[in-house]
């Protein structure tokens, strides 16, 4: 175990930075993710949320900083770290020429450990059991999002990373997604990381929040702490911290 990751903390991001060419799109992102909480990663479009998530799961190599998941460094102990993670990065892309079930079987085979046995119960959890044997190409975005979450949960992870899960969903879909996220954190004890550019969504779904702006995390804390027990709105805080730019 690496130091400083004991107890409730399941994921540590430390001073993450990413440079593409001569442009630093993420310059200083740090936060901690704890078991059983829904953590909102709030920032406007282009703030560097997706790039951060790509670094969290090892898709992109950070220029600086490191990520620990359950104490394992993602760069040095990739397999041990990623065994505890499920994620949807940007869009829930699946094999469109395979059915939902075939997709889940495909990713379950990458895990071994009896993951295939969890397919039916996970399909029921995301309420996709009726459409599981249809090709993913015929699914709506919301359905792909749900199969994507089932896929992410196949390995029985302790960390779930979702990149703007409300994007492209209708109001009913957004509400269902919110309920599912709360369920996973409260009933199953998962640490759920949710990135979003929607203040209201974060306020409704999350326990703790980090505000990210121009590639930097500006504030991290519970909704209560950040808003001074409701003395000011998250929006006011956001405007104050980002110098008046809107979300």
């Amino acid at each position: 175990m690496e130091p400083g990751t004991g107890g409730d903390v399941v994921l540590v991001a430390e001073g993450l930075a990413k440079r593409y060419g001569d442009r630093e799109v993420v310059s200083d992102v740090s936060f901690r993710l704890r078991r059983g909480e829904v953590f909102g990663f709030l920032g406007p479009n282009g703030a560097g949320k997706t790039t951060t998530i790509r670094m969290l799961v090892g898709l992109v190599r950070p220029t600086r900083g490191r990520v620990l998941i359950e104490g394992f460094d993602v760069r040095r102990r990739f397999e041990d770290a990623l065994r505890h993670v499920g994620c949807i990065v940007e869009t829930p892309d699946l094999y469109r020429f395979l059915t939902g079930r075939e997709n889940l079987e495909h990713f379950a085979r990458m895990l071994g450990d009896g993951a295939e046995g969890r397919i039916d119960s996970l399909a029921a959890l995301v309420r996709m059991e009726g459409r599981l044997d249809e090709p993913v190409g015929t699914y709506s975005l919301g359905m792909r999002q749900r199969i994507g979450i089932a896929q992410a949960l196949l390995g029985d992870p302790t960390v779930l990373l979702l990149d703007e899960p409300a994007n492209g969903l209708d109001p009913a879909g957004i509400r269902e997604m919110r309920e599912l996220i709360r369920h996973l954190a409260e009933e199953r004890g998962l640490a759920v990381f949710v990135s979003s550019h929607l203040l209201s969504e974060v306020e409704r779904t999350c326990d703790r929040v980090a505000i990210v702006h121009r590639g930097k995390t500006l504030a991290e804390g519970s909704l209560d702490e950040l808003t001074g027990g409701g003395a000011r709105s998250l929006e006011e805080l956001f405007l104050e911290r980002t110098g008046g730019e809107t979300v």
Partner: protein, 336 residues
């Protein structure tokens, strides 16, 4: 800890195989193979029928004699480029040796067609079919966005790529096996399915000065020659597969990877014909592809290339391409 590495690799290969089959790429390969072979068999059957109507072809000795004489005369002409003159002399010598041993060099039977296709196919056709499957393996995951799922599972990147390479090897093997079976099966309808035991002459070598050296030539049963030839065709097809996987890692689009491979194969083939004396051409993997022809001692476009040299060239290209593919695949950022 999860199960052992061989068990994991087996599951990864199963995934890759499933995806290739479900994408219907391999079905296209088989369909194209069957269509092309039918066409060639049909054309050859027509040719044979026409020759028989004209009274030619009934006596292979007479026609071989005539062709050998023609080639020798043309080789002596000052207007013929030297590389082509060498080719003609070599081929005429080969024909004369067949006459001497009383073995028809162009016997038309199903097995003989099958044997001939090993060499014919390994120049351009088998490599193209292999590339159809191999070009898709990595680039389709990149372009369809599934790469980010594949690479965020607790399986190291090199293992993922290894699974894809094994699948490439599997489908390459199937493609070569299918071309042997289909070429025999289809040609059998026109020329008969029997004749595996017929003697064929093999092992001709290029002597010094580009002349024919028959000292190592020998007669072997056709089936034996066919096994060696398809083994060699498989070897060069695997090398093409490795280079194509590298292109598939480099390009985001399968069409770009396949297009680049096609252009390379076609221009390489043309290059080895028009610039046969260009020293550098011998280091290019496309020149080395028709291993079965080098083995049989057929006149080859670039002189002075032995079977062992070509096999080494192909192995070198395959190893370098595979190493580069692993380095790029393991190190690169997955964005977009």
């Amino acid at each position: 800890m999860s199960a052992s590495f061989p068990a994991l690799l087996l599951r990864l290969v199963r995934n890759e195989t499933l995806k290739v089959l479900k994408r219907r790429r391999f079905r296209v390969v088989l369909a194209v193979l069957a269509a092309l072979l039918s066409l060639v068999v049909f054309a050859q059957a027509r040719q044979q029928a026409a020759a028989q109507r004209e009274g030619r072809g009934s006596d292979w000795r007479a026609s071989a004699e005539r062709r050998a004489t023609q080639m020798e005369r043309r080789a002596g002409s000052p207007r013929i480029p030297p590389a082509f003159a060498r080719y003609l002399k070599y081929e005429a010598g080969r024909l004369r040796y067949h006459l001497e041993k009383g073995i028809d060099p162009n016997a038309r039977t199903g097995p003989a067609f099958c044997l001939g296709f090993a060499g014919l196919g390994s120049v351009l056709f088998l490599p193209l079919l292999v590339a159809v499957v191999a070009s898709d393996l990595v680039s389709s995951e990149t372009s369809e966005g599934t790469m980010k799922l594949l690479l965020t599972r607790p399986v190291a990147r090199w293992k993922v790529l290894l699974g894809k390479l094994v699948a490439m090897g599997l489908f390459t093997t199937l493609t070569v096996a299918a071309s042997a079976a289909l070429s025999w099966g289809l040609a059998g309808f026109a020329f008969g399915w029997r004749g595996w035991g017929a003697p064929v002459l093999t092992g001709f070598q290029l002597g010094s000065g580009g002349s024919l050296d028959v000292s190592a030539a020998r007669a072997v049963p056709l089936w034996q020659d066919a096994i060696v030839s398809y083994g060699l065709a498989w070897y060069s097809a695997l090398a093409v597969g490795c280079v194509t996987v590298l292109l598939s890692v480099v390009f985001r689009s399968a069409a770009a990877a396949l297009g680049t491979m096609m252009a390379t194969l076609v221009s390489g083939t043309i290059l080895s014909r028009v610039a046969a004396d260009w020293e550098a051409a011998r280091w290019f993997f496309v020149t080395a592809l028709p291993l079965p022809d080098y083995y049989a001692g057929l006149p080859t476009p670039v002189p002075g290339m032995s079977l062992a040299f070509c096999a080494a060239i192909l192995a070198g290209w395959a190893a370098a391409a595979t190493a580069l593919a692993f380095v790029l695949f393991v190190r690169r950022d997955v964005t977009g």
